[in-house]
Protein backbone atom coordinates (compact mmCIF):
# COMPACT_ATOMS: atom_id res chain seq x y z
CA UNK A 1 0.00 0.00 0.00
CA UNK A 2 1.29 3.46 -0.84
CA UNK A 3 2.51 5.69 1.95
CA UNK A 4 0.57 8.94 2.39
CA UNK A 5 2.25 10.44 5.46
CA UNK A 6 5.76 9.66 6.58
CA UNK A 7 7.13 11.17 9.79
CA UNK A 8 10.73 10.30 10.82
CA UNK A 9 12.47 11.21 14.09
CA UNK A 10 10.70 14.53 14.37
CA UNK A 11 11.90 16.96 17.02
CA UNK A 12 9.66 19.98 17.52
CA UNK A 13 8.38 22.35 20.18
CA UNK A 14 7.20 25.83 21.02
CA UNK A 15 10.66 27.20 21.77
CA UNK A 16 13.95 26.01 20.27
CA UNK A 17 15.45 25.25 23.68
CA UNK A 18 12.58 23.09 24.90
CA UNK A 19 11.54 20.43 22.41
CA UNK A 20 8.19 18.76 23.18
CA UNK A 21 8.61 15.99 20.60
CA UNK A 22 11.86 14.06 20.93
CA UNK A 23 12.12 12.00 17.78
CA UNK A 24 8.63 10.81 16.91
CA UNK A 25 8.05 8.58 13.87
CA UNK A 26 4.90 7.34 12.22
CA UNK A 27 3.59 6.20 8.87
CA UNK A 28 0.09 6.42 7.45
CA UNK A 29 -0.79 4.49 4.30
CA UNK A 30 -3.46 5.22 1.74
CA UNK A 31 -6.99 4.36 2.83
CA UNK A 32 -6.11 3.91 6.51
CA UNK A 33 -7.54 5.46 9.63
CA UNK A 34 -4.73 5.81 12.15
CA UNK A 35 -5.22 7.00 15.72
CA UNK A 36 -2.64 8.66 17.96
CA UNK A 37 -3.28 7.97 21.63
CA UNK A 38 -1.50 8.98 24.76
CA UNK A 39 -1.92 10.66 28.12
CA UNK A 40 -2.57 14.37 28.47
CA UNK A 41 0.49 16.41 27.62
CA UNK A 42 2.11 13.56 25.69
CA UNK A 43 2.59 15.82 22.69
CA UNK A 44 -0.21 14.50 20.47
CA UNK A 45 -1.51 17.93 19.52
CA UNK A 46 2.03 19.18 19.09
CA UNK A 47 2.77 16.34 16.66
CA UNK A 48 -0.23 17.12 14.51
CA UNK A 49 0.62 20.84 14.60
CA UNK A 50 4.20 20.09 13.60
CA UNK A 51 2.99 18.13 10.59
CA UNK A 52 0.70 21.05 9.64
CA UNK A 53 3.55 23.55 9.97
CA UNK A 54 1.95 25.42 12.87
CA UNK A 55 4.77 24.30 15.17
CA UNK A 56 8.30 24.35 13.80
CA UNK A 57 10.10 21.05 13.17
CA UNK A 58 13.72 21.50 14.24
CA UNK A 59 14.96 18.13 13.06
CA UNK A 60 13.66 15.01 11.38
CA UNK A 61 11.59 14.48 8.27
CA UNK A 62 7.93 14.76 7.36
CA UNK A 63 6.49 14.21 3.93
CA UNK A 64 3.07 13.89 2.35
CA UNK A 65 2.79 11.75 -0.79
CA UNK A 66 6.54 12.12 -1.17
CA UNK A 67 6.52 15.91 -0.91
CA UNK A 68 8.65 17.36 1.88
CA UNK A 69 6.63 19.24 4.53
CA UNK A 70 9.45 20.47 6.77
CA UNK A 71 9.87 24.23 6.53
CA UNK A 72 6.82 24.66 4.32
CA UNK A 73 4.70 27.65 5.41
CA UNK A 74 1.35 26.61 6.88
CA UNK A 75 -0.64 28.20 4.08
CA UNK A 76 1.08 25.98 1.50
CA UNK A 77 0.17 22.74 3.27
CA UNK A 78 -3.31 22.58 1.71
CA UNK A 79 -1.78 22.42 -1.75
CA UNK A 80 0.11 19.24 -0.82
CA UNK A 81 -3.20 17.57 0.08
CA UNK A 82 -3.20 18.10 3.83
CA UNK A 83 -6.25 19.14 5.85
CA UNK A 84 -6.17 19.79 9.58
CA UNK A 85 -8.96 20.23 12.12
CA UNK A 86 -7.49 21.76 15.30
CA UNK A 87 -8.65 20.71 18.74
CA UNK A 88 -10.09 24.11 19.69
CA UNK A 89 -11.10 27.25 17.82
CA UNK A 90 -11.53 25.18 14.68
CA UNK A 91 -14.29 27.24 13.05
CA UNK A 92 -14.61 30.93 12.22
CA UNK A 93 -17.27 31.84 14.77
CA UNK A 94 -18.26 35.14 13.15
CA UNK A 95 -18.51 33.70 9.66
CA UNK A 96 -21.61 31.87 8.53
CA UNK A 97 -21.53 28.11 8.06
CA UNK A 98 -21.41 28.60 4.32
CA UNK A 99 -18.63 31.20 4.57
CA UNK A 100 -16.65 28.73 6.68
CA UNK A 101 -16.98 26.24 3.85
CA UNK A 102 -15.97 28.90 1.32
CA UNK A 103 -12.81 29.60 3.32
CA UNK A 104 -12.18 25.85 3.34
CA UNK A 105 -12.35 25.95 -0.45
CA UNK A 106 -9.97 28.91 -0.64
CA UNK A 107 -7.50 26.91 -2.75
CA UNK A 108 -10.20 24.86 -4.50
CA UNK A 109 -12.73 27.47 -5.57
CA UNK A 110 -13.73 25.95 -8.90
CA UNK A 111 -14.98 22.83 -7.09
CA UNK A 112 -16.84 24.79 -4.42
CA UNK A 113 -20.40 23.75 -5.23
CA UNK A 114 -19.55 20.08 -5.69
CA UNK A 115 -17.59 19.93 -2.42
CA UNK A 116 -20.23 21.87 -0.52
CA UNK A 117 -22.97 19.50 -1.64
CA UNK A 118 -20.75 16.57 -0.67
CA UNK A 119 -20.33 18.07 2.83
CA UNK A 120 -24.08 18.77 3.11
CA UNK A 121 -24.59 15.12 2.16
CA UNK A 122 -22.40 13.99 5.05
CA UNK A 123 -23.75 16.48 7.59
CA UNK A 124 -27.35 17.21 6.60
CA UNK A 125 -27.82 19.68 9.50
CA UNK A 126 -25.35 22.07 7.94
CA UNK A 127 -27.47 22.71 4.86
CA UNK A 128 -30.27 23.94 7.10
CA UNK A 129 -27.91 26.08 9.21
CA UNK A 130 -25.85 27.47 6.33
CA UNK A 131 -26.66 31.14 6.97
CA UNK A 132 -26.03 31.10 10.73
CA UNK A 133 -22.73 32.26 12.20
CA UNK A 134 -20.76 29.18 13.23
CA UNK A 135 -20.35 30.64 16.72
CA UNK A 136 -24.09 30.29 17.31
CA UNK A 137 -24.09 26.51 16.75
CA UNK A 138 -23.98 23.71 19.31
CA UNK A 139 -20.70 21.88 19.97
CA UNK A 140 -21.65 18.97 17.75
CA UNK A 141 -22.74 21.20 14.89
CA UNK A 142 -19.56 23.23 15.17
CA UNK A 143 -17.52 20.05 14.93
CA UNK A 144 -19.39 19.21 11.73
CA UNK A 145 -18.56 22.64 10.33
CA UNK A 146 -14.91 22.11 11.25
CA UNK A 147 -14.74 18.73 9.54
CA UNK A 148 -16.76 19.97 6.58
CA UNK A 149 -14.51 22.99 6.20
CA UNK A 150 -11.45 20.72 6.11
CA UNK A 151 -13.03 18.53 3.43
CA UNK A 152 -13.70 21.47 1.11
CA UNK A 153 -10.15 21.42 -0.21
CA UNK A 154 -10.60 17.78 -1.25
CA UNK A 155 -7.59 16.64 0.82
CA UNK A 156 -5.60 13.43 0.55
CA UNK A 157 -4.98 13.30 4.31
CA UNK A 158 -7.40 14.57 6.95
CA UNK A 159 -5.91 15.16 10.41
CA UNK A 160 -8.29 15.67 13.34
CA UNK A 161 -7.31 16.68 16.86
CA UNK A 162 -9.81 15.18 19.34
CA UNK A 163 -12.88 15.36 17.12
CA UNK A 164 -15.09 13.90 19.88
CA UNK A 165 -13.91 16.18 22.70
CA UNK A 166 -16.83 17.79 24.48
CA UNK A 167 -19.44 15.81 22.56
CA UNK A 168 -22.02 13.47 24.07
CA UNK A 169 -21.24 9.76 23.45
CA UNK A 170 -24.07 9.70 20.94
CA UNK A 171 -22.77 12.67 18.97
CA UNK A 172 -19.24 11.30 19.14
CA UNK A 173 -20.59 8.10 17.60
CA UNK A 174 -22.10 10.13 14.73
CA UNK A 175 -18.79 11.92 14.10
CA UNK A 176 -16.84 8.65 14.14
CA UNK A 177 -19.23 6.93 11.77
CA UNK A 178 -18.98 9.89 9.36
CA UNK A 179 -15.19 9.59 9.53
CA UNK A 180 -15.52 5.96 8.40
CA UNK A 181 -17.62 7.18 5.49
CA UNK A 182 -15.13 9.89 4.60
CA UNK A 183 -12.37 7.30 4.65
CA UNK A 184 -14.23 4.92 2.37
CA UNK A 185 -14.65 7.85 -0.04
CA UNK A 186 -10.88 7.74 -0.45
CA UNK A 187 -9.51 10.15 2.17
CA UNK A 188 -6.84 8.87 4.52
CA UNK A 189 -7.36 9.90 8.14
CA UNK A 190 -5.11 10.59 11.12
CA UNK A 191 -6.90 11.17 14.44
CA UNK A 192 -5.71 12.23 17.87
CA UNK A 193 -8.10 11.02 20.55
CA UNK A 194 -8.65 10.76 24.28
CA UNK A 195 -11.65 8.59 23.65
CA UNK A 196 -9.34 5.64 22.91
CA UNK A 197 -11.88 2.86 22.68
CA UNK A 198 -14.24 4.62 20.28
CA UNK A 199 -11.36 5.81 18.15
CA UNK A 200 -9.63 2.43 17.94
CA UNK A 201 -12.90 0.80 16.98
CA UNK A 202 -13.00 2.75 13.71
CA UNK A 203 -9.22 2.69 13.19
CA UNK A 204 -6.91 0.35 11.32
CA UNK A 205 -3.85 1.09 13.42
CA UNK A 206 -2.77 3.15 16.38
CA UNK A 207 0.29 4.80 17.89
CA UNK A 208 0.74 5.56 21.54
CA UNK A 209 2.84 8.55 22.50
CA UNK A 210 4.15 9.46 25.92
CA UNK A 211 6.47 12.29 26.87
CA UNK A 212 7.06 13.23 23.28
CA UNK A 213 8.15 9.76 22.15
CA UNK A 214 6.69 6.67 20.53
CA UNK A 215 5.65 4.10 23.14
CA UNK A 216 3.66 1.46 21.35
CA UNK A 217 2.07 0.87 18.01
CA UNK A 218 0.15 -1.81 16.23
CA UNK A 219 -3.15 -2.60 14.62
CA UNK A 220 -6.23 -1.34 16.39
CA UNK A 221 -7.46 -4.75 17.55
CA UNK A 222 -4.20 -5.69 19.21
CA UNK A 223 -3.97 -2.31 20.97
CA UNK A 224 -7.51 -2.68 22.30
CA UNK A 225 -6.56 -6.05 23.80
CA UNK A 226 -3.12 -5.04 25.03
CA UNK A 227 -3.02 -4.69 28.84
CA UNK A 228 -0.03 -2.35 28.53
CA UNK A 229 -2.22 0.20 26.75
CA UNK A 230 -4.49 0.48 29.74
CA UNK A 231 -1.43 0.71 31.97
CA UNK A 232 0.01 3.65 30.04
CA UNK A 233 -3.30 5.39 30.40
CA UNK A 234 -3.90 4.55 34.02
CA UNK A 235 -0.36 5.59 34.82
CA UNK A 236 -1.10 9.06 33.54
CA UNK A 237 -4.50 9.31 35.15
CA UNK A 238 -6.53 8.63 32.03
CA UNK A 239 -8.94 5.78 31.47
CA UNK A 240 -9.23 3.49 28.51
CA UNK A 241 -12.61 2.08 29.50
CA UNK A 242 -15.34 4.58 29.06
Amino acid sequence: MSVVLEVRDVVAGYSPTLPILNGVSLTVSAGEIVTILGPNGAGKSTLIKAIAGVVKITSGQASLLGENLVGLPTHEMVRTGLAYVPQTENVFAKLSVEENLEIGAFTNRHAYVRQRDHVFGLFADLARLRRLPAGKLSGGQRQMVAVGRALMADPKLLMLDEPSAGLSPKLAEVVFSQLRKICSAGITILIVEQNARAALRISDRGYILAEGQNRLDGDAGSLLDNPKVGELYLGAGSRLNK
Binding site: H75, P86, E89, F92, A93, I103
Partner: protein, 297 residues
Protein backbone atom coordinates in the same frame (compact mmCIF):
# COMPACT_ATOMS: atom_id res chain seq x y z
CA UNK B 1 -31.32 74.65 14.46
CA UNK B 2 -30.56 71.20 13.13
CA UNK B 3 -27.42 72.68 11.62
CA UNK B 4 -25.30 70.70 14.02
CA UNK B 5 -26.54 67.52 12.33
CA UNK B 6 -24.97 68.58 9.05
CA UNK B 7 -21.73 69.59 10.70
CA UNK B 8 -21.82 66.39 12.72
CA UNK B 9 -22.29 64.22 9.65
CA UNK B 10 -19.39 65.91 7.86
CA UNK B 11 -17.22 65.47 10.92
CA UNK B 12 -18.40 61.85 11.30
CA UNK B 13 -17.51 61.13 7.66
CA UNK B 14 -13.88 62.10 8.23
CA UNK B 15 -13.71 60.20 11.51
CA UNK B 16 -15.31 57.09 10.01
CA UNK B 17 -13.04 56.96 6.97
CA UNK B 18 -9.97 57.30 9.16
CA UNK B 19 -11.18 54.98 11.88
CA UNK B 20 -12.05 52.10 9.55
CA UNK B 21 -8.36 51.90 8.63
CA UNK B 22 -7.54 52.05 12.31
CA UNK B 23 -9.91 49.16 13.03
CA UNK B 24 -8.49 47.08 10.18
CA UNK B 25 -4.92 47.34 11.45
CA UNK B 26 -6.19 46.75 14.96
CA UNK B 27 -8.08 43.58 14.03
CA UNK B 28 -5.66 42.05 11.56
CA UNK B 29 -2.24 43.31 12.66
CA UNK B 30 -3.37 43.53 16.27
CA UNK B 31 -1.98 46.87 17.29
CA UNK B 32 -3.27 50.42 17.62
CA UNK B 33 -1.79 52.36 14.72
CA UNK B 34 -0.98 55.77 16.13
CA UNK B 35 0.32 56.83 12.72
CA UNK B 36 -3.14 56.62 11.11
CA UNK B 37 -3.48 60.43 11.31
CA UNK B 38 -0.30 60.94 9.32
CA UNK B 39 -1.51 58.47 6.70
CA UNK B 40 -4.56 60.72 6.30
CA UNK B 41 -2.39 63.84 6.06
CA UNK B 42 -0.10 62.15 3.54
CA UNK B 43 -3.13 61.47 1.36
CA UNK B 44 -4.26 65.07 1.62
CA UNK B 45 -0.89 66.44 0.52
CA UNK B 46 -0.63 63.99 -2.38
CA UNK B 47 -4.03 65.29 -3.50
CA UNK B 48 -2.82 68.86 -3.09
CA UNK B 49 0.12 68.13 -5.37
CA UNK B 50 -2.21 67.03 -8.15
CA UNK B 51 -4.61 69.95 -7.61
CA UNK B 52 -1.70 72.38 -7.81
CA UNK B 53 -0.54 70.73 -11.03
CA UNK B 54 -3.92 70.74 -12.78
CA UNK B 55 -5.57 73.71 -11.12
CA UNK B 56 -8.56 73.16 -8.89
CA UNK B 57 -10.98 75.34 -10.79
CA UNK B 58 -10.69 73.44 -14.04
CA UNK B 59 -13.69 71.42 -15.19
CA UNK B 60 -16.32 72.01 -12.54
CA UNK B 61 -18.87 69.26 -11.94
CA UNK B 62 -22.45 70.57 -11.73
CA UNK B 63 -23.10 72.66 -8.63
CA UNK B 64 -19.96 71.42 -6.91
CA UNK B 65 -17.07 73.71 -6.23
CA UNK B 66 -14.72 70.87 -7.02
CA UNK B 67 -14.34 69.46 -10.46
CA UNK B 68 -12.72 66.43 -11.97
CA UNK B 69 -9.24 67.60 -10.87
CA UNK B 70 -10.21 66.79 -7.31
CA UNK B 71 -11.39 63.31 -8.29
CA UNK B 72 -8.13 62.73 -10.16
CA UNK B 73 -6.29 64.03 -7.11
CA UNK B 74 -8.20 61.63 -4.89
CA UNK B 75 -7.38 58.63 -7.03
CA UNK B 76 -3.73 59.65 -7.15
CA UNK B 77 -3.74 60.15 -3.36
CA UNK B 78 -5.19 56.65 -2.88
CA UNK B 79 -2.52 54.99 -5.01
CA UNK B 80 0.41 57.03 -3.73
CA UNK B 81 -0.57 56.77 -0.05
CA UNK B 82 -1.06 53.01 -0.37
CA UNK B 83 2.42 52.67 -1.86
CA UNK B 84 3.99 54.78 0.89
CA UNK B 85 2.23 52.73 3.55
CA UNK B 86 3.31 49.42 1.97
CA UNK B 87 6.92 50.60 1.90
CA UNK B 88 6.71 51.71 5.54
CA UNK B 89 5.23 48.34 6.52
CA UNK B 90 8.00 46.54 4.67
CA UNK B 91 10.72 48.63 6.32
CA UNK B 92 9.30 48.98 9.82
CA UNK B 93 6.43 46.69 10.81
CA UNK B 94 7.31 43.56 8.82
CA UNK B 95 10.71 43.12 10.54
CA UNK B 96 9.01 43.67 13.91
CA UNK B 97 6.36 41.04 13.10
CA UNK B 98 8.96 38.51 12.03
CA UNK B 99 10.66 38.98 15.40
CA UNK B 100 7.30 38.42 17.13
CA UNK B 101 7.44 41.91 18.61
CA UNK B 102 4.94 42.60 21.37
CA UNK B 103 1.91 44.83 20.88
CA UNK B 104 3.56 47.57 22.91
CA UNK B 105 6.61 47.53 20.64
CA UNK B 106 4.40 47.88 17.58
CA UNK B 107 2.43 50.71 19.16
CA UNK B 108 5.62 52.55 20.11
CA UNK B 109 6.94 52.09 16.57
CA UNK B 110 3.69 53.56 15.23
CA UNK B 111 3.96 56.42 17.69
CA UNK B 112 7.47 57.18 16.50
CA UNK B 113 6.32 56.91 12.91
CA UNK B 114 3.55 59.41 13.61
CA UNK B 115 6.06 61.92 14.93
CA UNK B 116 8.46 61.40 12.05
CA UNK B 117 5.62 61.58 9.55
CA UNK B 118 4.42 64.94 10.80
CA UNK B 119 7.96 66.31 10.83
CA UNK B 120 8.66 65.11 7.30
CA UNK B 121 5.42 66.70 6.05
CA UNK B 122 6.26 69.99 7.78
CA UNK B 123 9.77 69.87 6.34
CA UNK B 124 8.47 69.30 2.81
CA UNK B 125 5.48 71.64 2.69
CA UNK B 126 5.85 73.95 5.68
CA UNK B 127 3.63 74.25 8.72
CA UNK B 128 1.15 76.85 7.40
CA UNK B 129 -2.36 75.84 6.44
CA UNK B 130 -2.90 75.30 2.73
CA UNK B 131 -5.98 75.16 0.56
CA UNK B 132 -6.97 73.38 -2.61
CA UNK B 133 -8.79 76.53 -3.74
CA UNK B 134 -10.40 79.62 -2.32
CA UNK B 135 -13.93 78.90 -3.33
CA UNK B 136 -16.80 80.58 -1.55
CA UNK B 137 -19.25 77.76 -0.81
CA UNK B 138 -22.82 78.54 -1.83
CA UNK B 139 -25.06 76.79 0.62
CA UNK B 140 -28.33 75.29 -0.43
CA UNK B 141 -31.17 74.44 1.91
CA UNK B 142 -32.27 70.84 2.25
CA UNK B 143 -34.99 69.89 4.75
CA UNK B 144 -34.50 73.21 6.46
CA UNK B 145 -30.75 72.88 7.02
CA UNK B 146 -28.02 74.61 5.10
CA UNK B 147 -25.28 72.63 3.44
CA UNK B 148 -22.98 73.21 0.53
CA UNK B 149 -23.21 70.80 -2.39
CA UNK B 150 -19.63 69.86 -1.60
CA UNK B 151 -20.51 68.84 1.93
CA UNK B 152 -23.35 66.71 0.64
CA UNK B 153 -21.03 65.14 -1.93
CA UNK B 154 -18.53 64.48 0.81
CA UNK B 155 -21.11 62.63 2.86
CA UNK B 156 -22.17 60.74 -0.25
CA UNK B 157 -18.60 59.72 -1.08
CA UNK B 158 -18.13 58.45 2.48
CA UNK B 159 -21.38 56.47 2.38
CA UNK B 160 -20.37 55.01 -0.98
CA UNK B 161 -16.92 54.04 0.30
CA UNK B 162 -18.42 52.31 3.34
CA UNK B 163 -20.95 50.50 1.14
CA UNK B 164 -18.28 49.33 -1.30
CA UNK B 165 -16.17 48.10 1.61
CA UNK B 166 -19.20 46.25 2.98
CA UNK B 167 -19.70 44.49 -0.37
CA UNK B 168 -15.98 43.71 -0.53
CA UNK B 169 -15.92 42.15 2.93
CA UNK B 170 -19.10 40.11 2.52
CA UNK B 171 -19.08 39.14 -1.18
CA UNK B 172 -15.50 38.67 -2.32
CA UNK B 173 -13.13 35.84 -1.53
CA UNK B 174 -10.42 38.30 -0.53
CA UNK B 175 -12.83 40.14 1.77
CA UNK B 176 -13.93 36.93 3.42
CA UNK B 177 -10.35 35.80 3.84
CA UNK B 178 -9.63 39.12 5.58
CA UNK B 179 -12.50 38.54 8.02
CA UNK B 180 -11.25 35.00 8.59
CA UNK B 181 -7.72 36.23 9.25
CA UNK B 182 -8.97 38.88 11.67
CA UNK B 183 -10.71 36.19 13.68
CA UNK B 184 -8.10 33.43 13.63
CA UNK B 185 -4.89 33.87 11.62
CA UNK B 186 -3.63 30.33 12.23
CA UNK B 187 -6.87 28.74 11.08
CA UNK B 188 -6.82 31.06 8.05
CA UNK B 189 -3.35 29.79 7.15
CA UNK B 190 -4.43 26.20 7.64
CA UNK B 191 -7.02 26.86 4.93
CA UNK B 192 -4.37 28.08 2.53
CA UNK B 193 -4.72 31.83 3.10
CA UNK B 194 -1.40 33.64 2.82
CA UNK B 195 -1.76 36.09 5.69
CA UNK B 196 1.09 38.23 4.33
CA UNK B 197 -1.10 39.11 1.38
CA UNK B 198 -4.03 39.80 3.71
CA UNK B 199 -1.78 42.18 5.66
CA UNK B 200 -0.85 44.05 2.47
CA UNK B 201 -4.53 44.50 1.57
CA UNK B 202 -5.27 45.66 5.11
CA UNK B 203 -2.77 48.48 4.68
CA UNK B 204 -4.00 49.31 1.18
CA UNK B 205 -7.65 49.57 2.22
CA UNK B 206 -6.88 51.53 5.39
CA UNK B 207 -4.58 53.92 3.50
CA UNK B 208 -7.10 54.36 0.69
CA UNK B 209 -9.92 55.36 3.03
CA UNK B 210 -7.57 57.67 4.91
CA UNK B 211 -6.47 59.25 1.62
CA UNK B 212 -10.12 59.84 0.70
CA UNK B 213 -10.69 61.43 4.12
CA UNK B 214 -7.57 63.57 3.73
CA UNK B 215 -8.62 64.78 0.29
CA UNK B 216 -12.14 65.62 1.48
CA UNK B 217 -10.86 67.39 4.56
CA UNK B 218 -8.34 69.31 2.47
CA UNK B 219 -11.13 70.40 0.17
CA UNK B 220 -13.77 71.39 2.70
CA UNK B 221 -11.53 72.67 5.49
CA UNK B 222 -7.80 73.04 5.00
CA UNK B 223 -4.52 71.14 4.99
CA UNK B 224 -2.15 71.22 7.92
CA UNK B 225 0.56 68.74 8.89
CA UNK B 226 -1.42 68.02 12.09
CA UNK B 227 -4.76 67.57 10.32
CA UNK B 228 -4.74 63.81 10.80
CA UNK B 229 -3.14 63.81 14.22
CA UNK B 230 -5.93 66.07 15.48
CA UNK B 231 -8.44 63.46 14.30
CA UNK B 232 -6.64 60.60 16.05
CA UNK B 233 -8.44 60.82 19.39
CA UNK B 234 -11.91 61.04 17.83
CA UNK B 235 -10.96 58.09 15.59
CA UNK B 236 -9.89 55.99 18.57
CA UNK B 237 -13.04 57.04 20.42
CA UNK B 238 -15.16 55.89 17.46
CA UNK B 239 -13.31 52.59 17.34
CA UNK B 240 -13.70 51.94 21.05
CA UNK B 241 -17.31 53.03 21.36
CA UNK B 242 -18.15 50.96 18.28
CA UNK B 243 -16.87 47.81 19.97
CA UNK B 244 -13.51 47.49 18.23
CA UNK B 245 -14.22 44.55 15.95
CA UNK B 246 -16.83 45.46 13.37
CA UNK B 247 -16.76 48.03 10.60
CA UNK B 248 -20.41 48.87 11.28
CA UNK B 249 -19.51 49.56 14.89
CA UNK B 250 -16.82 51.97 13.74
CA UNK B 251 -19.26 53.82 11.51
CA UNK B 252 -21.85 54.01 14.31
CA UNK B 253 -19.12 55.17 16.69
CA UNK B 254 -17.98 57.84 14.25
CA UNK B 255 -21.55 59.14 13.92
CA UNK B 256 -21.90 59.28 17.69
CA UNK B 257 -18.59 61.06 18.21
CA UNK B 258 -19.02 63.36 15.21
CA UNK B 259 -22.54 64.40 16.20
CA UNK B 260 -21.60 64.94 19.87
CA UNK B 261 -18.71 67.15 18.86
CA UNK B 262 -20.94 69.18 16.57
CA UNK B 263 -23.63 69.43 19.25
CA UNK B 264 -21.03 70.77 21.68
CA UNK B 265 -20.07 73.41 19.13
CA UNK B 266 -23.74 74.14 18.44
CA UNK B 267 -24.48 74.97 22.08
CA UNK B 268 -21.44 77.21 22.29
CA UNK B 269 -19.05 74.83 24.01
CA UNK B 270 -16.63 74.44 21.13
CA UNK B 271 -13.63 74.53 23.44
CA UNK B 272 -14.96 71.37 25.08
CA UNK B 273 -15.98 69.52 21.92
CA UNK B 274 -13.56 66.66 22.38
CA UNK B 275 -14.24 66.36 26.13
CA UNK B 276 -17.95 66.22 25.44
CA UNK B 277 -17.45 63.57 22.75
CA UNK B 278 -15.41 61.55 25.24
CA UNK B 279 -18.07 61.93 27.89
CA UNK B 280 -20.63 60.52 25.47
CA UNK B 281 -18.22 57.66 24.78
CA UNK B 282 -17.85 56.93 28.49
CA UNK B 283 -21.61 57.05 29.01
CA UNK B 284 -22.16 54.53 26.24
CA UNK B 285 -19.44 52.28 27.66
CA UNK B 286 -21.00 52.45 31.12
CA UNK B 287 -24.25 51.10 29.69
CA UNK B 288 -22.66 48.79 27.12
CA UNK B 289 -19.09 47.97 28.21
CA UNK B 290 -18.56 45.93 25.05
CA UNK B 291 -19.35 48.94 22.84
CA UNK B 292 -22.17 49.44 20.36
CA UNK B 293 -21.36 46.47 18.10
CA UNK B 294 -18.98 44.54 20.33
CA UNK B 295 -19.57 41.07 21.68
CA UNK B 296 -19.84 40.38 25.38
CA UNK B 297 -16.53 39.22 26.79
Amino acid sequence: MMQFVVDGLINASLIALGAIGLSMTYNILRFANFAQGEILATGAYFALAVVVLIGAGAGALGPLAFGWPLLVAMVFAIVATSLVVLVVDWLLFRPLRSKNASRITLIMAAFGLSLIGRNVITLLVGGDPQYFSFYIPKAITVFGVKATPDEIAMFGITALAVFVLHLFLTRTTLGKSMRATAENPTLAQINGIDTRSVIRWTWIIGASLAAIAGTLQGHTIQLRPEMGFDLLLPMFAALIVGGGTSMYGVVAGALLIGLSEALAVGVGLSAYRLSIAFMVMLLVLLVRPQGLFGEKA
